[in-house]
């Protein structure tokens, strides 16, 4: 599973699949209390892409066999809504569980019945087995769908349900248990003839040993310190000579860094991709593989963009992977939907990572290309029906791409959580072939208690290019206000030449953005478009500000003007712009070129559909102030511009620069969250880099450190308190 591949904390060449140790290293920085896929997620209007071709593939959509009368969904957000959608289609009553802060959440409103299972913290509500069991009993639900995360892979929960004769919509307890243990699952996989990462589990004693083992495993290999961490004592070797050198250096480094010179050798996976196979099995020994999902674009072990199928697999590799996945599923008598995760190297060698015994976050893309409704299949299987399909019935129709839209700031290590109220929210549902799985609506709060995912934005096309271009449109049309979101990053990823060509790996983000994500970099032409749009928007707003309706006692002087000289500031630079207008069309001269910008100029709409030199562009106006500041979202990234008259621009240069407060002596919370621990008290002397307090937000603990050495003047937070972004935590003298 992805959580084991650190893509950030290590130099890219050293990434390997010795999962546990790398994972531990990452955790030292910021640990995920729950793994990525335990993420509960949102969804409201559940829009299925109209995939015409695949309708015939699943004829069962039309008539539903008797399954259950009532299903309780032990989850929240997107996935709860997703499951209810299918239940509703199948004529099954639904029961929602919710924490008290979720009382008016979308999934609660969508359900036929809802039960509050406790206060906001997940361990007191969505993980509160007693309360959920009580909810099952009181509502008379016959089955429970756990979604993903929370209790979905909890064998105890499955066992308790079974004991009460309630169906668990997922695999049996023993399969959950077998696949839940990392070592055991590898052993089972090995025994089932599934490829696992070759390596030598013992300690390598001598250079000759190393060479022999390396030869056994096959180059390239990775030599690393048994006690290792942070890339120290790690070497990649592509041949015998490098193995010898590597052994020597690594021994020395390991000894000096860790005081322990023992080394391990394992296969080095170069440019690893994360590709997983969806499997579906029934309780009668039948199992299918439903093709792959490419999930290599990740940050901090969390998937960001997924697609199905993968650009990388050929039919043979796909079949080989699929067959191995099915073998594994059968080896543990797996039933229901599950996912077998593989690492794939640049030579299409693939190695088993782990199996997820639940519905996966990114399951929609598989649904779109196969035409199957996985939730419906899970419910059927849980009832005991045999699979309807044969392997040869499983098609790959077209291409599907999923972007995970998160409430987080992509400019801070590819995404630090942000919270807030969705003051405005509009999904791009006006577009065809777009599916949005979300569990929130306008007015919803993204709180610190749960995963910050806003939605899964899925687009479909006959070809990958079509799906990608649809994704661009969908991201441009997606209106999210009130929380910081990662659409800038998503849009950059899906338009990056490397991504378009399919040249990706789990290291994609750190490789493409070695200095962190900086947003869209404007080309000269893009900059002209942005400046022209801002100038035209400004003029149309100015014109409206002079439009008073009704009869006026003192007549207003008319301001017939056809030409405006303006000065547009962008990133500290001033650009002279000349705007002339005929009707709704503005001709803007900027940077020696003339651009024709036309549109509806609806100043109330968050979307600003324009035609620039006849090319349609969907911009968004994020804010517009009376003093000329305009914030426009252009190609996914928001840009701040200021449009002023030449006079105002000239006079602006006399305005004093406001000195920002000295931030080295104050510590502010970089994100909303709760204070886990405060390590200092007033009067303490702290050294630069010393931990001052720990803030937990969503699933991450972040250590706040002193920016300089000094004495603590005052502490403004205490453990257990909730803090907002920018709140003052500690002041130094």
């Amino acid at each position: 599973m992805a959580a084991h591949i650190s893509t950030l904390s290590l130099p890219r060449l050293l990434v390997a699949a010795k999962n546990a140790s790398l994972h531990a290293r990452w955790q030292a920085v910021a640990h995920s209390a729950v793994r990525y896929s335990t993420v509960p997620v949102p969804q409201e209007k559940h829009v299925w892409v109209d995939v015409g071709k695949s309708e015939g593939a699943d004829s069962s959509n039309l008539s539903f066999p008797q399954t259950f009368d009532k299903i309780l969904i032990a989850n929240r957000g997107e996935i709860a809504c997703r499951v209810m959608k299918t239940c509703r289609m199948m004529g099954i009553q639904t029961v929602a569980v919710h924490s008290d802060v979720d009382a008016s959440a979308v999934h609660v409103k969508m359900a036929d019945q809802a039960v509050c299972v406790g206060p906001a913290p997940t361990n007191q509500s969505y993980l509160n087995m007693d309360a959920i069991m009580e909810a099952v009993r009181s509502t008379g639900a016959q089955a429970v769908h756990p979604g993903y995360g929370f209790l979905s892979e909890n064998k105890e929960f499955a066992r308790r349900l079974a004991a009460e004769g309630v169906a668990f919509i997922g695999p049996d307890t023993h399969a959950i248990q077998a696949m839940g243990d990392k070592i055991e699952s590898k052993l089972i996989a090995k025994a089932a003839q599934v490829n696992t990462i070759p390596g030598f589990d013992g300690v390598v004693e001598t250079v000759e040993d190393a060479v022999r083992i390396a030869l056994d495993i096959g180059y390239p290999v990775m030599i690393k310190a048994s006690a290792g961490g942070g890339g120290k004592g790690m070497r990649i070797a592509w041949n015998e000579e490098e193995t010898r050198d590597g052994f020597r250096f690594s021994t020395q480094e390991a000894a000096s860094s860790f005081g322990d010179s023992r080394l391990l050798i394992e296969k080095f996976i170069d440019n690893p991709r994360h590709i997983e196979i969806q499997v579906l099995a029934d309780k009668h020994g039948n199992a299918l593989w439903l093709n792959e999902r490419e999930c290599s674009i990740q940050r901090r072990n969390q998937k960001v963009v997924e697609e199905a199928p993968s650009t990388f697999l050929d039919a043979d590799t796909r079949r080989a992977m699929g067959e191995q996945a099915v073998l594994l599923a059968q080896a543990v008598q797996y039933s229901s939907a599950g996912t077998v995760e593989f690492l794939v190297d640049s030579h299409k060698n693939f190695y088993f990572l782990e199996m997820n015994t639940r519905l996966q976050v990114e399951h929609p893309i598989t649904e779109l290309i196969t035409g199957l409704d996985l939730v419906q299949q899970m419910i059927r299987v849980a009832k005991g029906y045999p699979l309807l399909h044969k392997q040869e019935d499983i098609p790959i129709n077209g291409w599907a791409i999923e972007s995970r839209v998160y409430a987080e700031d992509p400019y801070k290590s590819f995404g630090l959580p942000s919270i807030g109220r969705l003051s405005q929210y509009q999904e791009p549902l006006n577009l065809s072939n777009v599916r949005v799985d979300s569990g929130i609506s306008e007015g919803s709060d993204i709180s610190i208690y749960y995963d910050p995912m806003i939605s899964k934005l899925v687009t479909y096309g006959a070809t990958r290019a079509e799906a990608l271009s649809k994704m661009e449109d969908a991201l441009d049309n997606y209106v999210i206000r009130g929380v910081t979101h990662n659409i800038p990053l998503l849009r950059e990823i899906i338009t990056h030449p490397r991504f378009i060509s399919g040249d990706i790996s789990t290291n994609f983000l750190p490789e493409v953005y070695p200095d962190g994500f900086k947003g869209h970099q404007l080309t000269a032409g893009g900059q002209r478009e942005l400046l022209a749009s801002a100038a035209a928007l400004h003029v149309s707003a100015q014109l409206r500000a002079q439009t008073f309706l009704g009869t006026l006692r003192v007549s207003a002087s008319s301001q017939e003007r056809r030409r405006w000289d303006l000065c547009v500031e962008l990133g500290g630079e001033r650009h002279p712009v000349v705007v002339s207008r005929t009707g709704q069309t503005y001709t803007v001269e900027v940077g020696g070129e003339s651009l024709v910008v036309s549109g509806e100029w609806d100043l109330a709409s968050p979307l600003l559909p324009l035609k620039i030199n006849n090319t349609p562009r969907m911009l968004q106006c994020l804010s517009r102030t009376a003093s000329g500041d305009i914030c426009l979202q252009y190609l996914g990234t928001s840009f701040k511009v200021r449009v002023l008259s030449p006079l105002a621009a000239e006079l602006s240069s006399f305005m004093p620069e406001k000195v920002p407060e000295d931030t080295s002596s104050i510590l502010r919370s970089p994100m909303p969250g709760s204070v886990v621990a405060v390590s200092v008290k007033p009067g303490d002397t702290v050294a630069e880099g010393q931990e001052i307090c720990v803030i937990e937000a969503m699933k991450m603990q972040n250590s706040m450190t002193a920016a300089k050495t000094g004495k603590v003047k005052s502490v403004h937070c205490k453990a257990g308190e909730t803090v907002g972004e920018g709140d003052l935590l500690v002041e130094l003298e």
Binding site: S104, G443, A545, L549, A556, M655
Partner: protein, 559 residues
């Protein structure tokens, strides 16, 4: 003797030539010898003989001088302080080329302390006045010129201001004052004080007739502060403007307090602590551009209806997010601004006094293009209770709206008046009465929405039906009662055991909109998502509302 007299009387004319005559012009009037006068007299006659060119030249010269105010070095000094000149400010505030200047040739009349000297005379003196347009609409402005005697107020200066104010009153158009003045022109003594009083009087007479706005863009100290205080809105510029009765030096000598100018009377102090100013802008440019925007909310005078602008926001837009905005627990806070932003046109809300008495929110917005005044309790701050400061803040705003025909929309979530000795000793009774008074007296369209709590006397105060609210709505989450359930039960069932039960009964009975609805104290219980639509429709109907209070010389508001 006669010659001498002639020489004297002509000296004024001569001064007009001072630049063209070069060295001669620098001769100080007071020391002009008779002979010298005669020489200049001859020269002057010669100039006249040339024709009218000289007058035109003089006009041009004067104008040139007037445009330069106190001269380039002082202009540079002004810029260095991060401030614009009086004329630059007017140019930015008004539509291009719309400014019509008055009294450009007025000079001060002081003849003491060497003030009569030529170098101490500046055409236009220390203020620029006139009229112009903001987005096409008429406005009268005066802009004090700090580069001339530190913007100090002379008799002439005051006279110029009075002239535009008088005309503004006659025409029915707002007055905007851009204040940047060191204070009284000390050399003029009582003349300057008289000038202030003349302005104060006009401020008072214009109050409620035309909107008056003061933008403090520099110092404004001593008696001068009372002019902004009398106007409807006082805006300030951060870091460069100050308002105080006495400066830090005097404070130190009288009360021995150490205080900086900024702490004593800066924008932060007055917008957050004293409540003297209504808003603080970042800098001069920001302030003036925003003032243009603000001006669009206001009618020109009390004879005009609230302006209606073209709006792109559909008046029947539903706001689904409103259905979930009020938390189910009655003790939990939410942000009233979220409601306001979601309901008004294009989320455009100009909040007045956003940093002062934050438990009440007031400001301007538009509904279907029409300016409205919004008043709302803010549950996020002090549970939205009414206290001294919030009552006064709300009352002044309501009275402005009423004076200028701006409909008032009130969002109510108020648990009552704030208890405690601080409030009682401070006179909450007297101050709370102001808000009550203002709402009761107002005859503009009044629409009230009870979003949640409306407890006790505060329910009555907040534009209730009983105070002539035209349309009063309750959301399903509304609770109109004398007090919260717990307190009520403790009183009704004092000393009895079954309090929990009684509390439940009380909640059942009063913690909902029905008690008010069955009595007709609210006109309807509405789905929150339809609030915008309902308000827009009601405003259309109420546009022709006519209501007149009994004749009186003036009312006696509890001050």
């Amino acid at each position: 003797m006669a010659a001498f007299t002639v020489a004297r009387s002509s000296s004024r004319l001569i001064s007009g030539f001072r630049t063209s005559f070069g060295g001669l012009a620098r001769v100080k009037h007071g020391v002009v010898a008779a002979t010298a006068s005669q020489v200049s007299l001859q020269q002057q006659c010669r100039r006249y003989a040339v024709g009218q060119l000289s007058v035109k030249e003089r006009i041009d010269k004067k104008r040139q001088e007037a445009l330069l105010g106190g001269g380039q070095p002082r202009i540079d000094a002004q810029h260095k302080k991060g401030k614009l000149t009086a004329r630059e400010r007017i140019e930015l505030l008004l539509d291009p080329e719309s400014f019509v200047e008055y009294d450009m040739f007025v000079e001060h009349r002081c003849s003491d302390f060497g003030m009569e000297q030529d170098r101490n005379k500046f055409p236009g003196d220390s203020v620029v006045t006139g009229q112009g347009r903001i987005n096409g609409r008429l406005v009268y402005v005066f802009s004090q010129d700090f580069t001339v005697f530190g913007g100090s107020l002379s008799g002439a200066h005051a006279q110029k201001i009075c002239k535009v104010m008088d005309q503004a009153m006659m025409v029915g158009a707002p007055v905007i004052g851009l204040n940047d003045s060191g204070g009284a022109r000390i050399q003029e003594g009582v003349e300057s004080l008289a000038g202030y009083a003349d302005i104060f009087l006009r401020n008072v007479l214009a109050s409620g007739v035309v909107p008056q706005i003061s933008l403090i863009m520099g110092p404004c100290a001593g008696g001068a502060v009372y002019s902004p205080a009398l106007t409807d809105f006082t805006f300030m510029v951060k870091d460069t403007s100050y308002l105080f009765i006495t400066g830090p030096d005097v404070v130190k000598s009288v009360t021995n307090e150490d205080v900086t100018q900024e702490e004593l009377g800066g924008a932060k102090t007055h917008t957050a602590v004293s409540g003297v100013a209504h808003y603080a802008f970042e800098n001069d440019v920001d302030a003036l551009l925003n003032l243009r925007d603000f001006f669009n909310f206001l009618p020109l005078s009390n004879q005009d209806a609230a302006p209606v602008m073209e709006s792109h926001d559909p008046s029947d837009r539903l706001v689904p997010a409103m259905d979930t905005i009020v938390p189910s627990e009655t003790t939990k806070a939410y942000d009233m601004l979220d409601i306001i932003h979601a309901i008004v046109d294009e989320k455009n809300f100009f909040e007045i006094m956003p940093s002062y008495a934050k438990n009440i929110v007031v400001g301007f917005a538009r509904m279907d293009g029409r300016t409205v005044g919004i008043v709302g309790n803010q549950p996020k701050v002090a549970s939205g209770c009414l206290d001294i400061n919030s009552s006064v803040k709300g009352a002044r705003f309501v009275r402005f709206c009423d004076a200028f025909n701006i409909p008032i929309i009130t969002f109510v979530d108020v648990p009552g008046f704030l208890p405690g000795t601080a409030q009682e000793y401070g006179g909450i009774i007297r101050h709370g009465a102001k808000l009550l008074y203002a709402f009761a007296e107002a005859t503009v369209p009044k629409i009230t929405i009870i979003t949640r709590k409306a407890y006790g006397g505060a329910y009555d105060v907040m534009s209730s039906k009983h105070l002539r609210g035209d349309v009063n709505y309750a959301w399903p989450s509304a609770e109109v009662a004398v007090m919260g359930a717990k307190g009520a039960v403790q009183i009704i069932f004092r000393g009895k055991d079954s309090q929990a039960e009684a509390e439940a009964e009380y909640v059942e009975k009063f913690a909902n909109p029905f008690p008010a609805a069955v009595r007709g104290f609210v006109d309807d219980i509405i789905e929150p998502s339809t609030t915008r639509k309902r308000i827009c429709r009601d405003l259309e109907v109420l546009a022709s509302k006519k209501q007149v209070n009994p004749w009186k010389k003036h009312a006696n508001m509890p001050l």
